[in-house]
């Protein structure tokens, strides 16, 4: 009997190469085949390295002003990317500015990702009244435009980088919680979760083994999209004097201070914006690539 069964189920072997058991090794393999994702990851890695190693890579001082070398155009001798409105070297400012910009762009999203996922997955898995209580509470945050809320929280907490990171984190938590909750609610009703419950496993085990891998993808993609939002909101806070203080190089702040020079030297004025654009673009594309690599049934 079992011989007959074995014969009838045999399908022509499509690939007989041994398969890796580990899911994440498979994800990495698929990412490495995706050229766009690899390029984006490389660019981001380079930006991070330049920001971190700026004191060793960049000879110029980002704080040194010079009244006679103000607003030099791109390609000037000694200042390859020109100078800003106070004569400071743009290469140095962009490199050093990456530190603060990347930090303020990534940190709030990262913290909110962790908290939002935890709360959202809990709400989605618990369902019922607990879910409703949590989600309606978070809806309060949606009543305010996020920029206004950031300004309000930042203003209440006082000026400073830590406080603006905190304000931005608070803004992103409801959004990420909502994504996590809807993804979890969707997965929870699938029969494999019921099958896992039938095994007698605890809720924590079910979440860890069966829910997390299936909901983190969409949350992650949404979160990476927030990195650029975070950078732009942070620059808005800096502009209002609530975030990074003026002498400090930061892309958003530089964009704001250079806006007066946009008719005199548009190329230089656009540089910090270009950096923000490249960074957020790379984050988004990389997130897309990682998401599709995490998708097993392509």
């Amino acid at each position: 009997m079992s011989d007959i069964l074995a014969q009838t189920t045999t399908v022509p072997a499509l690939d007989l190469k041994p398969r890796s058991n580990n899911y994440w090794i498979g994800v990495l393999r698929r990412i490495s085949r995706d050229r766009l994702t690899v390029i984006c990851a490389t660019v981001l890695l380079a930006l991070i390295l330049i920001a971190l190693l700026a004191p060793w890579l960049i000879p110029a001082d980002p704080y040194k002003t010079s009244m006679i070398r103000r607003l030099l155009p791109v390609g000037s001798p000694g200042h390859f990317l020109g100078t800003d409105e106070l004569g400071r070297d743009m290469i140095a400012r962009l490199a050093y500015g990456g530190r603060m910009s990347l930090l303020i762009g990534v940190m709030p999203v990262l913290i909110a990702f962790v908290i939002g996922s935890a709360v959202g997955i809990f709400a989605g898995f618990a369902g019922g009244r607990i879910n409703m209580a949590i989600m309606r509470l978070l809806d309060v945050f949606y009543a305010f435009p996020s920029v206004l809320l950031a300004v309000a929280i930042s203003g209440a907490l006082g000026q400073g980088t830590t406080n603006s990171v905190l304000a931005l984190t608070l803004i992103f938590i409801p959004q990420l919680t909502r994504i996590a909750e809807s993804a979890t609610t969707q997965v929870r009703t699938l029969e494999y979760v019921d099958a896992a419950r039938m095994s007698g496993a605890s809720s924590l085990t079910i979440i860890r083994v069966h829910i997390l891998g299936n909901v983190l993808g969409p949350i992650f993609v949404y979160a990476t999209g927030l990195v650029s939002v975070s950078m732009i909101l942070a620059s808005g806070l800096s502009f209002l004097g609530l975030g990074v203080k003026p002498p400090e190089p930061e892309w958003g702040l530089m964009l704001n201070t250079l806006r007066s020079a946009i008719y005199l030297n548009p190329l230089v004025a656009a540089l910090p914006g270009a950096m923000i654009f490249i960074t957020s673009m790379c984050f988004n594309l990389m997130a897309d690539g990682i998401r599709s690599a995490m998708e097993v049934n392509e």
């Binding site: 009997m1 069964l5 189920t9 398969r19 039938m198 095994s199 083994v209 891998g213 299936n214 049934n297």
Partner: protein, 352 residues
């Protein structure tokens, strides 16, 4: 071919062969309508409305009925995936869901469920050998042993573990996935498996293979099946007894040959005459049933089938029929079978 049962031992037979493995009395589940704060008490869907089930050991009970009659809800209630409103469930002599009764984890080790949707019931991000191994690890079996057991089970259900073990669900066909689901249920060494439309989504030839596999496994592992299906031919093939449900209630139950040959309830008769026959002399002359079942939200008193019943009478609106015995193990809930009911066409109990 023997199955390696080392890591999880088979639960012992507590009640002896005469004790039914599953005894259900008055199982009831009403889903309230409207979950918001302001719209309470709009009524409830009477999904399962007081049903009694008896499943003797090592038999197969088929449950048939139209969609929405409460078959799947019954399966989920028995597995405690949803909590019943009331009713008594006794698994091999031990009460379930009562203080000092059988713990839930223990019940779920003895009772497993195989779902209809073979794809949705497997985690898409988990290789199938891991999906099968997950259950035993929950019960304290080490990962290495669990994988080993999972591979031997894959072999047992007819999938080569070296070729299929590391695959993901989407890389398998529907029949192969359903074999995986069966293997996952077997990994617990259960004694009762509820098959909720488990072969309904498969095409006929694959369905036959899976049914044969199920029959073999039943013999080999002393299993008991609760086989839920809307396919009357399949139920006849695999079951010892059959239970017909209509709108959350049992209308007829009995040994499969008896019920198929001499159906007593008009609904069962209609169902059976709706089965397409290849014999031209037995072809259906007219539509056996028309219309849909009435709304299960707050159903009216009396017999729930009376709106569609060809033999309905005024008394049917007043009296909800009780289950009465009409033959050995054959029970029917219809006033026609009760001579004392007042129905003009009612016949005696053993009168056919």
């Amino acid at each position: 071919m023997t199955t390696d049962t080392r890591p999880l031992s088979v639960a012992e037979d507590r009640g002896g062969p005469a004790q039914p493995i599953l005894l259900v009395k008055g199982l009831r589940k009403h889903f309230p309508l409207g979950s918001g704060f302001f719209n309470r008490n709009r009524g409830a869907v009477h999904a399962v409305d007081g049903i009694d089930i008896t499943v003797p050991k090592r038999t197969t009970l088929g449950i048939v009925g139209e969609s929405g009659c409460g078959k799947s809800t019954t399966a989920r209630l028995l597995a405690r995936l949803i909590e019943p409103d009331s009713g008594e469930v006794i698994f091999d002599g031990e009460g379930v869901g009562i203080p000092n009764g059988m713990p839930l984890k223990e019940l779920r080790r003895n009772l497993q469920l195989v779902f209809q949707d073979s794809f949705a019931s497997l985690n898409p991000r988990m290789t199938i050998e891991r999906a099968i191994a997950f259950g035993p690890t929950v019960h304290g079996v080490g990962m290495r042993d669990a994988i080993e057991r999972s591979r031997s089970l894959l072999d047992r259900v007819g999938l080569d573990p070296t070729r299929f073990g590391g695959r993901y669900p989407h890389e398998l066909s529907g029949g192969q996935r359903q074999r995986v689901n069966i293997a996952r249920a077997l990994a617990f060494n259960p004694r009762l498996i509820i098959l909720d439309e488990s072969v309904s989504a498969l095409d006929k030839s694959v369905q036959a293979q899976v049914l044969n596999l199920l029959m073999d496994l039943k013999e080999e592992l002393n299993l008991t099946y609760l086989f839920i299906s809307h396919d009357l031919n399949v139920v006849q093939y695999i079951s010892d007894a059959v239970m017909v449900m209509y709108l959350g209630q049992v209308v007829e139950v009995g040994p499969v040959e008896e019920v198929y040959r001499h159906p007593r309830h008009p609904y069962t008769k209609a169902l059976l005459s709706a089965v397409p026959s290849l014999d031209p002399h037995r072809r259906t002359e007219r539509t056996p049933l028309s219309g849909d079942p009435p709304n299960p939200i707050n159903p009216p008193p009396g017999c729930r089938f009376r709106d569609r019943c060809p033999q309905a009478h005024a008394v049917c609106a007043g009296i909800a029929p009780e289950r009465i015995t009409v033959g050995p193990g054959h029970e029917v809930a219809c006033l026609l079978a009760d001579a004392a009911s007042g129905h003009p066409d009612a016949t005696g109990r053993n009168d056919r």
